[in-house]
Symmetry: C2
Subunit: 352 residues, 2 copies
Amino acid sequence: MELDERKCKILQAIIKTYLETGEPVGSRTISKLPDLNLSSATIRNEMADLEELGYIIQPHTSAGRIPSDAGYRLYVDQMMAEKALERNDEEEGKEKEHDALLAKVDRLETLLQQVAKVLAYNTNYATMVTAPNYKNTNVKFIQLSQVDETQLLAVIVVEGNVIKNKMIKVTEPLANDELLKFNVLLNSFLTGLSLQDINLELIQTMKQQAGERAALLEYIFEGVMDAVRSAEELEVYTSGANNILKYPELYDATKAGALLEVLEEKKALNNLMESTENDTTDNQYGIQVYIGDETPLKTTNDCSIVTATYELEEGVRGKIGIIGPKRMDYDKVVTTLKNLTNELDTIFKNKT
Amino acid sequence: MELDERKCKILQAIIKTYLETGEPVGSRTISKLPDLNLSSATIRNEMADLEELGYIIQPHTSAGRIPSDAGYRLYVDQMMAEKALERNDEEEGKEKEHDALLAKVDRLETLLQQVAKVLAYNTNYATMVTAPNYKNTNVKFIQLSQVDETQLLAVIVVEGNVIKNKMIKVTEPLANDELLKFNVLLNSFLTGLSLQDINLELIQTMKQQAGERAALLEYIFEGVMDAVRSAEELEVYTSGANNILKYPELYDATKAGALLEVLEEKKALNNLMESTENDTTDNQYGIQVYIGDETPLKTTNDCSIVTATYELEEGVRGKIGIIGPKRMDYDKVVTTLKNLTNELDTIFKNKT
DNA sequence: TGTTAGCACTCGAATGTATCGAGTGCTAAC
DNA sequence: GTTAGCACTCGATACATTCGAGTGCTAACA
């Protein structure tokens, strides 16, 4: 049995109404739609076929049908295909105000937090935004300075203008020229290098150059390395966790609880986001839709995740994701994500 | 009618069993307790009195009694008074493992996040930890350096070793001696001052000293001020939001949703924590218990908040708080909070 | 005077029963 | 191939009944 056009239309109608109502849809409901003029009996026959094909499910005899994961998949794929065609007429206007809202935030972290918030507000789902990951954290600049008698401050700027710093305790203040010497040494040896490039050999050579202060240099160097490593912990910003409770199908102590836990566990969440494919070739915004079991979540298969990729600068990317019930307004979510990544792009471009 | 000792004991028994079971307690349940040997009828009489006094409530006729806010209040006050007496025998052992867990975290933010997590895990309530607030953010040290052709980096260390930084865009690189001059200028004018101390007059004098580079100085100065102001946004770390769903009395779309929103709204949360009294005189850890309406939460009066104050260094304090249902294991919560603040104290003391 | 046994009463929770209706599958006619 | 018709299913709803925990009150008792 193949999926002819009429079946396809019916399936689409079923899914659409289910997305709206959240309740199983019966044959009569579909037959009354102005779209296709068929009696409920005919629809019933087609529905039986669609069920056999695995696109819809009957929760129990004498109930309507609800989409299966496969059904959702088909629906989303079709939607995405359509969107790819009508790419030209980007909607504006509605989201305009956020432009203003977002543009004036200048710290990246607050901006991203804000993005998560706006997205949650617009979609009524839970959202998460990962900070862009600077894969190759090349050191760009190092500055060592004496803050007071016993404390040095190491400031390291790495590729992408990420600033890291670390206080280093010393037993006695360094002489001015010594500080200068260390600064020169650190900069000349480390600038341009990334974490992986820094090896024992390099450290040895550096220590040689430091002469009798080799021990101190090593100590300071350790501090610097600490700082460079530190912000490896990638940030994730979440918002709208309360939205989860708005959907009856997730409103359940274990399901909702598990989701909340996921949203809280930043590290796992980051992995989750990273584990989504990073494919910007097939569609402009790298939008990916994961339905039910396709989701990297093991704890529940009752929700869907949609992610988009934004680009801070060439090659430096982060992700925006929303997580909600399988019965999600995919269309709206995808458009909103597109608009938002669009806005982010323009903001970032104007910045540089 | 006064509250004699017997009434008091009965009230205590009612509250205790209610805390355990979560269901209205009847007279028979109490009469069967080995503590006081009274028939259910007598208990009933006393209960009627207690209700009249406002300490307990009857959800409906022919149901047992549950504590009112006033009842909880009395219970907590008594418990706190008892605890104040037996302050000596600090329990150890059980929490020992966290000592290890917490001690090896060296960044303050991760430590506090960890604290929130441990507390949530131990108590099964939602938790929040505010970063210590450095009331007087005196500038301690300023360093301006040239990162590349068009970017300056301003690093400011304020009291309490909080480091703030900001990239400043310039059109052309500054000469070395010019940079030095700015550094000296900024340091000599601003060190020791706090945000409030910096006024227009000061800026004028500074500009005069800058001579023909006054415009540039002002521009840079703005950047520096930006950075100083920036981290005014105090951080709050939360954990265990999912625990909220574990209590039937809060398990309700609107109530739980509202709480989740509160936990997410860091800024409001911080105010909430700050608004709690800061009184370390009456008990060692500044533990405060807010029950129902006493809570600063306007959205719901179905929960209680317990906060404790920890001290990073003399005068630099933050708060640890837990939020849960009114039917909360106050005893356990208070002990856990005490232990935790204790641990924090020792950790901080060893650090300095 | 305080305590207790006894009893009628209340009312939510639990259980059982009947009904309703949306929806189905199937058959036969168009 | 489509549709009308019909018997059938089964969750949801409504309603009645029962059950029992718990109460308040009264009267007897120490």
